[in-house]
């Protein structure tokens, strides 16, 4: 059956960020407030290490979004 899949997979996002890495705009939505930021470093003992800087932000429309910056390849993703 084809229904087996993971939930909350990252989706590519268009993010404009400040020089310090703080997101200013996510998929055309202006960031009104940064609620929290955290760093995840995992699987560093493998050939595919995982290094992400997460940002939980509130857009001007009032939406709560979680995005992360992949520190390995430089791309941005949305995860909620």
């Amino acid at each position: 059956m084809s229904g087996t899949r993971r939930l909350a997979l990252p989706r590519a996002a268009r993010v404009r960020a400040a020089p310090g890495g703080q997101p200013l705009e996510v998929d055309g939505q202006t960031v009104a407030h940064v609620r929290e930021s955290w760093l995840i470093e995992d699987r560093w003992w493998t050939e595919q290490p995982l290094r992400r800087r997460y940002w939980e932000i509130v857009s001007e429309q009032g939406r709560d979004l979680v995005v992360f910056h992949d520190l390995a390849d430089g791309h941005w993703f949305r995860q909620r």
């Binding site: 084809s2 229904g3 899949r5 939930l7």
Partner: protein
Amino acid sequence: MRTYVRMMVACALIPRFELVVAAGGLEALAGRAVAIAPEGGRGSGALGEVSGAAQAFGVRSGMALGEALARCPQLELLAADPIAVAAAWEATLRTLEGIGAGVEPQRPGLVCFTLDGLRRLHGGSDELVLAAARRALDRPARLAAAPTRFCALAAALATRPRRTLIVRESARAHLMGLPVALLRSRERTAPLVATLERLGIATLGELAALGRSSLADRFGAAGVEAHRLACGEDDPPRSRRVEVALSESLELPEATGGEALERALAVLIDRLLARPERRGRTLRAATLAARLTDGGSWSREVTFREALAQRERMHLVLAARLGALPAPASVLTLTAERFGAPAGQQEALLEQADRHRRARLREAVAQMRSAAGPDAALRVHCLQLDSRVPERRVMLTPFES
């Protein structure tokens, strides 16, 4: 003016019943030091019943074989024959039922029944009822009557064979001077005897003088039961339910074991379940018996966890017992002992509701999938809920009800 007759319980004790049957008659035991061999081999275990001649050498039932042979080197061992014992005991019970007694068999050779209701049938007195029972038994038996089952057994043990004892006084008064070892006759109170004797409580009268609550503190429910018995309190006999015996046998042409024996068992189960006398009832207990090629027999009663009539489940339970066969079998017998309700399977009310709900859910999922495709019903499966990486926490899997 009304006359109230106190309940009287009769006890018939046929000494060495199993040994007499295994030996082929009372005459075969005369002057011989004989005992039932330990089950499962000749080299270990405890002896069964022993003859009077063997007792004279100090051999006792339950004694280790090595010790018994040291005391009595000429001791002869007989193979246990539970099939023949069961048949002979059933015949004995039916003769007692033939005089109108509602019997409560305790073990082969020991049976109780109330005298109430039998007096008018047999002349109006307890003595005449017991005389009728003795004629029916037609073998040396110790017969006694007393107000309770326990007291009747104590009286039967005290009386001589072919004699009858009727306890007219109260049960408590009769039991007062008797040893606490009598409590060994009940499975529940038997473990207390050694401790009571160590504590210096030798008689049932001394036991009755103790407080029931003190005994409950020290021994729990067994202590309360022992005190009740010592005080002359006991439950009345419960007559057995007479049912048509349902039995199937299969002769095994050669010494068979392993898979062949299991196949024979499967045939017996099929035959037993196909018997019209079963009338759709489930089986609650069955006896698996075998006649052994080297003499004697073997039997095991199996009580199923729930009453059932399913071939596979019965086979699963009974086949495990075949491993305990002490020798190759020449005849295998399966007997239905007790029946359950005439239904395919017994289920609890709540489980039924749960099963019903699951069936409805399964049907609903099937309808959804036929209408919206195979992904219409999925289940969220937790992988690592505490993972810091969100996509590793949960996943969707097909819903299987």
